[in-house]
């Protein structure tokens, strides 16, 4: 089933929520494009309401897209028939944020893990218990506890079960939507380690959605920053973190607290940077980079280095990329 090109290819993905009770329709995801290579992690960061979760759900076809294309393993997902899509789900899985609500409260762990196996008939019925035990070991849990219910486990253990369920059918691609944000710091580190080792062992690709930029730094090969439904920056993690090109990215990075008292104190003592990012205006006329996209018909996207792009939307008034960019 392998096809040339990236494992996942998202092009101009749009999601519009219909108008409701007098409110105009909302464009939650606006022409988002990126690729994910096999065995790699793309970190998708942004604040609440930026559209990052909707993007993840739209890629998994849990949310209908209003435009654009999502190709996984060379197959177009957006136009797929329902039955084909269900079969395709064995290649793409989902790890949700809240391990307390994403497991069926009245099903045992064994039942939870067996469900995907039965749905996709990936192992013969009599081998299911064996595979369930294998999955438990894979995520670092004791196979003896499979007959317990989710409420008997801690948050970290539950998240391990959620991960085991996602891996049951040997997927190629997993969307992790804030997989550790509901957990304690030490548990977060353990789950991140687990996701790492699973990636290496199984050559998984992740779309890792999170608002915590420090966690994303630890897991992602490449990083995409979302704001107002659009990607504002996309590039290798090292480049985006060390030389952010978009003022919004810089603002996000500046806000992350540093666990070092002296430096964090100095940071808090500085005047609060609260730049106002302009809305969707600037669709006509020259952009901040001086290019008129409406006239030239080019996408509003600028390469600042190979594989490191930045959007010319959402810049604070008066900001000029030329002045701020050279921090490379």
């Amino acid at each position: 089933m392998s096809a040339p090109g990236p494992l996942l290819r998202v092009r101009d993905l749009c999601v519009t929520f219909p108008a409701r009770r007098g409110r105009p329709p909302v464009r939650a995801v606006d022409h988002v494009s990126f690729d994910i290579e096999p065995g790699q992690t793309l970190g998708l960061v942004g604040e609440s309401g930026s559209g990052k979760t909707t993007t993840g759900r739209a890629i998994l076809q849990l949310q209908p897209a209003s435009g654009g294309s999502v190709r996984l393993l060379g197959q177009e997902l957006t136009a797929m028939r329902r039955a084909d899509l269900r079969a395709m789900r064995r290649h793409m899985q989902f790890v949700l944020q809240n391990p307390y609500s994403s497991l069926h409260p009245r099903m045992t762990v064994a039942q939870i893990l067996a469900e995907p196996l039965t749905v996709h008939r990936s192992v013969p019925r009599e081998r299911i218990p064996e595979r369930v035990a294998e999955l438990m070991t894979l995520v670092g849990m004791d196979p003896k506890v499979v007959h317990r219910y989710p409420h008997e486990f801690s948050g970290g253990q539950r998240q391990r079960v959620v991960i085991a369920r996602a891996l049951a059918v040997n997927p190629d691609f997993v969307v992790c939507d804030e997989p550790v944000s509901a957990l304690d710091v030490r548990t977060q580190a353990q789950i991140v380690d687990l996701l790492h080792s699973l990636q290496e062992k199984l050559r998984l690709s992740y779309l890792f959605i999170a608002h915590d930029l420090a966690i994303v730094r630890a897991v992602a090969h490449r990083v995409a920053v979302m704001y107002g439904g659009r990607l504002v920056e996309l590039g290798d993690a090292a480049r985006v973190y060390d030389s952010p090109a978009h003022p919004y990215t810089r603002n996000l990075l500046d806000a992350v607290p540093i666990p070092d008292p002296a430096r964090q104190r100095a940071k808090l003592a500085e005047a609060a940077p609260e730049p106002q990012f302009r809305g969707r205006d600037g669709e006509t006329g020259p952009c901040v980079f001086g290019e008129d996209h409406a006239a030239s018909g080019t996408p509003a996207w600028h390469e600042v280095a190979p594989g490191h792009g930045v959007s010319c939307r959402f810049w604070p008034p008066g900001a000029c990329p030329g002045q701020e960019l050279p921090r490379i």
Binding site: R217, Y241, D254, P257, I258, P261, R263
Partner: protein, 272 residues
């Protein structure tokens, strides 16, 4: 040991829950002091007893449970665990105020935010309606809400999460309390909003001369905000000290493990 200058002296505080008839201890006799105007941090993971400790000072039982307190909580020499409920009600809000994690559920959705602050001022500070509204507008301005006179007439749903937390902070500081307890005040907020709220708390502490008890699981949040830190684990204070010394040389293995687990944005990550 007993520092007469202390604003709050907690001695051998215990808290015991009664869950389905089975008693379980969540705070095991902890002692600590907070001086007037001092900022103190409490760090620990969920279930370590840090929030229960904070609620003990407010003498509030966590939702839907009964709890038996033990020990002493001396606030300006009065033992908060032993005073009459009437006196305690007066303490809450007026002398000791609290800000919670979730700014979404802590406000009354059917009242304008201005009316909610007015009420607080009329009840605790004995202001007239008109004087209360003047002070409300002042407070909303103080916590960084633009056009406070107009926004006072808005309902909570018209505010973003960060703005609601600002409103809650305005309510908390409305009577100029001596101690502000902030229990994970930024956990539910975005990182840029978190930075703004932290700056706000710091500024208010300084301007109003309030002591701050900041409770969080995040060492990054604690780092720049407080002078002293208490690390809690399993209902005990396992380590305490000046913030710089504690970050530079944590003594207790649990503190070391917690600090090591904090993700750092500057550590080089993975490469393609």
């Amino acid at each position: 040991m007993d520092d007469p200058r202390a604003l709050l002296q907690v001695r051998d505080l215990t808290a015991q829950f009664n869950r389905d008839g089975v008693p379980s201890r969540v705070v095991n006799g902890i002692s600590f002091d907070i001086a007037p105007g001092e900022a103190v941090g409490f760090v620990g993971e969920s279930g370590c007893g840090k929030s229960v400790t904070a609620r003990a000072i407010m003498r509030l039982a966590p939702e839907g449970s009964s709890v038996a307190w033990g020990g002493r909580i001396l606030f300006r020499g009065r033992d908060l665990l032993r005073i009459e409920e009437r006196e305690m009600r007066d303490m809450r809000g007026r002398r000791i105020a609290m800000v919670f994690q979730d700014p979404m559920t802590s406000l009354n959705p059917v009242m304008t935010v201005g009316a909610q602050i007015d009420d607080m001022l009329c009840r605790h500070a004995g202001l007239s309606r008109r004087a209360a509204r003047r002070r409300t507008v002042e407070l909303l301005g103080l916590v960084g809400i633009r056009d406070p006179a107009l926004r006072a007439d808005d309902h909570p749903h018209q505010f973003s999460g960060g703005m609601r937390q600002r409103v809650l902070i305005a309510i908390a500081v409305s009577c100029q309390p001596d101690l502000l307890i902030a229990d994970e005040p930024t956990t539910a907020l975005d990182v840029t909003v978190q930075a703004q709220i932290l700056r706000l708390l710091m500024r208010l502490g300084r301007e109003l001369g309030m002591a701050l008890m900041l409770i969080t699981h995040d060492f990054g949040v604690i780092a720049g905000m407080v002078e002293r830190v208490y690390v809690m684990h399993g209902g005990d204070i396992v380590e305490s000290g000046e913030v710089d010394a504690l970050f530079a040389g944590p003594q207790h293995p649990y503190t070391r493990a917690l600090l090591a687990a904090v993700p750092r944005i500057e550590t080089a990550g993975r490469t393609t």
